[in-house]
């Protein structure tokens, strides 16, 4: 339980890892929109190929990506099957009320590829960006929202502190569980209800200690002159480098490619809808 990595960050030395986290987040959004704006098989294939290329560039083992796909594979199958049978138009196969149409097959394939691309893309972001970089980037990206009185700095600070204390509290949970076991608490047997009940003597001290920690942390932060986000500077500045511009240009080309294939795809391969 001790060596938990939050947000599944996978440290490696790749171009994607070194990109500015802001660029990564914005690109992720762009790609997600793109995935849902593919209206032709050619553009869908194109975006799938792009996603694969990006994955290979991250130098994160493919096994990691497969693991993240495993979680949603059921959803993919169910939605694909539903789409398969709910297509309209001329049936190519019919058995009772179940019919399969070209339209249905098309939808099923589209949904399946889209969801997989979506998961893979978000995995790229979480695998290649450390949690601290992520909070940093989010704080800076959301900065314009301060106009609408969104407490951007406070939200980012909360995320930072949460990230910092997850391992500490996990360690504490281990200790409390050990202490309760030493007093004869039974946490491994019984039905679900009994086990949940057995957690109460763990959670109560954990909460008490979390509040005590919060109070002390607040004192320590005040001692270090913390007064909220106003007038605060940052040590780590995020600078866009050549790498980032290249990646932006790359994304622009992908966008252009998808748009063009959406329009002219049927010219290339006319047999498809």
């Amino acid at each position: 339980m001790r060596d938990i990595t939050l947000g599944q960050y996978f440290p490696a030395d790749s171009v994607i890892h070194r990109l500015d986290p802001r660029v990564k987040i914005l690109s992720l959004i762009a790609y997600i929109v793109l995935v849902f704006c593919t209206f032709h098989f050619t553009s869908l294939a194109f975006i799938a190929a792009t996603v694969l290329t990006i994955i290979l560039m991250t130098k994160v083992p493919l096994k990691m990506y497969l693991k993240s796909l495993k979680v949603i594979i059921i959803i993919v199958i169910i939605t694909s099957i539903l789409n398969l049978f709910y297509g309209t138009g001329e049936p190519i196969f019919q058995w009772g009320i179940i019919k399969i149409t070209y339209d249905g097959i098309r939808n099923a394939v589209f949904v399946c590829v889209r969801i997989i691309c979506l998961i893979l893309l978000s995995s790229v972001l979480t695998f290649t960006t450390s949690p601290t970089d992520m909070t940093d980037a989010l704080e800076r990206l959301m900065k314009p929202l301060t106009v609408f009185h969104v407490k951007v700095h406070e939200i980012a600070m909360m995320m930072t502190i949460a990230l910092r204390f997850v391992p500490t509290l996990l360690e504490e949970t281990d200790k409390i569980m050990a202490a309760q076991k030493a007093r004869g608490a039974d946490m491994e047997s019984g039905d679900l209800f009994a086990r949940i009940k057995a957690l109460v003597p763990v959670l109560v001290p954990l909460f008490v200690s979390a509040f005590r920690r919060a109070y002390e942390l607040a004192t320590a932060m005040e001692c270090r002159c913390y007064r909220g986000g106003e007038g605060r500077t940052r040590m780590k500045q995020l600078h866009l480098t050549k790498r980032d511009f290249i990646s932006i240009v790359f994304t622009a080309f992908v966008i252009a490619g998808v748009v063009l294939l959406n329009i002219f795809g049927h010219v290339l391969i006319p047999s498809f809808v």
Binding site: P167, E216, C223, R224, R234, M235
Partner: protein, 279 residues
């Protein structure tokens, strides 16, 4: 002029309830610039409360605390006082904010609004001063207690304070971690000229200081140079405070009639003294 001047400070958490026993009762103490003083006392003696008065975390109910001439009761000065007097707390786990060592050290200077290049410089310098530079990219929860406490000290040093107040910085550490932290504190005092106020209940730590203040039940029991304070063995014993073992041994010997003029504070001093006495 004294850098820290605590004048007749009485402090009560509940100001309405006049009958309640105050946490601090008419405490006065002075610390000069560059000095290393220790505040000694039992749990509940009010020593942590003294620490919190020195950087305006608490304001005296009556009396005055002046830091470099600034009154802590003046809210406009709170920020300036806190950047001059840094406070390190007992539990290192609860005072680290960020999940990377160097980012945590940068937290203080960032709050002061210092330009990023200079923060970088200060962070590197502070981490080198506590000998944690090699761990700058690590996560705090992977460090040992002593290392974490040194990072916490670095976080204060990076703000370039004149004075560091440490509230039982070694209480939760193992002997190795304690030694690391003590060495760091001594080095900062001697090499960087930082004024140190160390709150502790370990006699062996108090002995290292230039001057010692002993608190008991919110009152100042005695104060002075370590040898002056610890020579009052009877007084300290009466208030259930320990004296260093070497001092106690020689005190006993003296009461049995061995001719000892000055009580030693350390084992080395004790050994050489006994050699002398035994001829």
């Amino acid at each position: 002029m004294n850098y820290i001047s605590v004048q007749n400070v009485t402090f009560q958490y509940d100001e309405q309830n006049q009958d309640a026993k105050p946490v601090l009762d008419q405490i006065s103490l002075e610390v000069k610039k560059g000095e290393f003083v220790a505040v000694l006392g039992h749990n509940g003696s009010g020593k942590s409360t003294v620490a919190k008065h020195l950087n305006a975390m608490l304001i005296p109910t009556s009396g005055k605390v002046l830091i470099d001439g600034m009154d802590t009761a003046d809210e406009k000065l709170t920020f300036d006082i806190r950047r001059k007097v840094g406070l390190v707390l007992q539990n290192p786990d609860n005072q680290l904010v960020a999940s990377i060592v160097e980012e945590d050290v940068a937290f203080g200077p960032e709050n002061l609004g210092i330009p990023s290049d200079e923060i970088r410089e200060r962070v590197d310098e502070a981490l080198k001063a506590v000998d944690m530079y090699d761990h700058r990219k690590n996560a705090p929860h992977k460090l040992s207690g002593g290392q974490k406490q040194r990072v916490a000290i670095a976080g204060i040093i990076a703000m370039r304070p004149d004075c560091i107040v440490l509230d039982e910085p070694t209480a939760m550490l193992d002997p190795k971690g304690r030694q690391e932290v003590l060495d760091t504190i001594l080095k900062l005092n001697r090499e960087n000229g930082i004024t140190i106020v160390m709150i502790t209940h370990y006699m062996e730590e108090a002995v290292l200081a230039d001057r010692v203040f002993v608190l008991d039940n919110g009152r100042m029991l005695t104060q002075g140079k370590p040898d002056e304070v610890f020579s009052q063995v009877e007084l300290l014993k009466k208030h259930r405070l320990d004296v260093p073992q070497a001092t106690e041994l020689c005190h006993k010997l003296r009461s049995w009639g061995v001719a000892i003029k000055k009580l030693p504070l350390s084992e080395e001093a004790c050994v050489s003294l006994l050699k002398e006495v035994l001829g």
